[in-house]
């Protein structure tokens, strides 16, 4: 009960901060719409839907990265992470709440991006939507842990992509596979396993990332 309450309080804090500042979600939304617009004009006419599906995953990946790069901005700029780390709450609750807030922002942006993709390119299948949902979980759980690792570094803008992109590759492979193949279920299963394995790893590791 206490753990869930801590996560809820920390999540509420992040959502409230974003509601007031309106910085992360607009930035992500503008980025993904701009990316899809450029892809629309960059892709030669007559290109197959397969190429467009691949571009969708590129847009999602880098939009998620943009959101994750801002995940710990308040904690970094105002030094608040020390305050959270010193509290008696389980430190993994900080990770879980931050992952959930990143996931919330990403899902809200995708609620705009996927219809936009359907307008620019082709309708999005339910398999693709399921793949996006599963991919979002993986991107946010892993990305939040890596964002916390990068936040203390002076080269955080470089470090996060360097750490994140290799670990996000399996998600891209799974997502693209689910979107373009006839047997997308296999790739959805792969994404689900990825999410479970890395969620457990990240949940257990966060304690050691934030403790100096």
């Amino acid at each position: 009960m206490s753990y869930a309450g801590d996560v809820a309080a920390l999540l509420r804090k992040d959502l409230l901060l974003e509601l007031r500042a309106k910085e992360t979600i607009p930035a992500m939304a503008i980025f993904v719409l701009a990316a899809l617009t450029i892809f629309h004009f960059a892709l030669p006419s007559g290109s197959s839907d397969l190429a467009a599906d691949g571009l969708l995953w590129i847009a999602i990946l880098f939009t998620a990265l943009l959101g994750l790069s801002r995940a710990f901005v308040a904690e970094r700029e105002q030094g608040v992470l020390d305050g959270l780390v010193m509290s008696p709450c389980d430190r993994s609750a900080i990770w879980l709440a931050k992952s959930l807030s990143a996931l919330t922002f990403l899902v809200l942006v995708e609620a705009i991006a996927l219809p936009a993709f359907s307008v620019f390119f082709a309708p999005v299948s339910m398999t693709t939507v399921a793949a996006v949902a599963l991919a979002d979980v993986g991107l946010c759980t892993v990305g939040t842990l890596l964002a916390a690792m990068a936040v203390a570094s002076r080269t955080r803008e470089l470090l996060l992509p360097l750490l994140f992109l290799p670990l996000a590759l399996p998600i891209v492979v799974g997502g693209v596979g689910a979107s373009v193949t006839a047997n997308g279920g296999r790739y959805l299963g792969f994404l689900l396993v990825y999410d479970l394995v890395f969620a457990i790893i990240c949940w257990a590791s966060f304690e050691y990332v934030v403790a100096e």
């Binding site: 105002q78 020390d82 305050g83």
Partner: protein
């Protein structure tokens, strides 16, 4: 409360603390003084659990939830109000009747009228008062204050002095202004 023997902390090649010994009882008041860069902040961060020693031993007879810490950063969210910040910390520290406790502290430190204003609109002195409220919210058994009188006006400083005089737990204060708390100190540690 605190037992340190040969306590050392190094950052890369730079040794900031070297062989510090100290024993602080449960109701002791340690006054830490020294010039800039002498290791005062490092000592407090070690005691708070934000750093680990690179040499020697350090035993703190208080759990994470029993330590109150005031550092150079106020550790409050500028986008939240004072009440929202204390509500969050009160939740995380399992403070009983946290709303009442928050209200009492805000009133004591003269922030009741601005409790619903976002911290971003606060002056440096007001933020310092709020940080003190945050550090005292859960009635810590061990209170660690790093330059607590910074940015406080005369009234704020007197409030803090009164609060420290009424405390029952262990206290460590690092300050460039030792005269304000010297009569409370039961032990002194002067860094060179």
């Amino acid at each position: 409360m605190i037992h340190a023997h040969g306590l050392s902390r190094r950052f890369g090649r730079k040794r900031v603390l070297d062989g510090v010994d100290l024993d602080l009882p449960d109701t002791g008041f340690l006054l830490v003084t020294g010039p800039n860069g002498s290791g005062k902040t490092t000592l407090l961060r070690l005691c708070a659990g934000l750093l680990v020693p690179t040499g020697g031993s350090l035993e703190i007879a208080a759990d994470r939830g029993e330590i109150g810490f005031l550092g150079h950063d106020p550790l409050v969210y500028r986008g939240l109000t004072a009440l929202e910040n204390l509500e969050l910390y009160g939740r995380l520290y399992r403070v009983p009747e946290r709303r009442e406790r928050s209200g009492m502290l805000l009133e004591r430190f003269g922030l009741w009228e601005v409790r619903n204003d976002r911290v971003a609109s606060y002056s440096r002195g007001m933020m310092q008062r709020l940080s003190l409220c945050r550090a005292l919210l859960h009635e810590p058994r061990l209170l660690l204050l790093d330059e607590p009188f910074n940015a406080l006006d005369t009234a704020g400083a007197e409030l803090l002095q009164r609060e420290l005089a009424e405390r029952r737990g262990a206290t460590v204060v690092a300050t460039h202004d030792p005269d304000r708390v010297s009569r409370l100190a039961t032990a002194r540690l002067a860094f060179a």
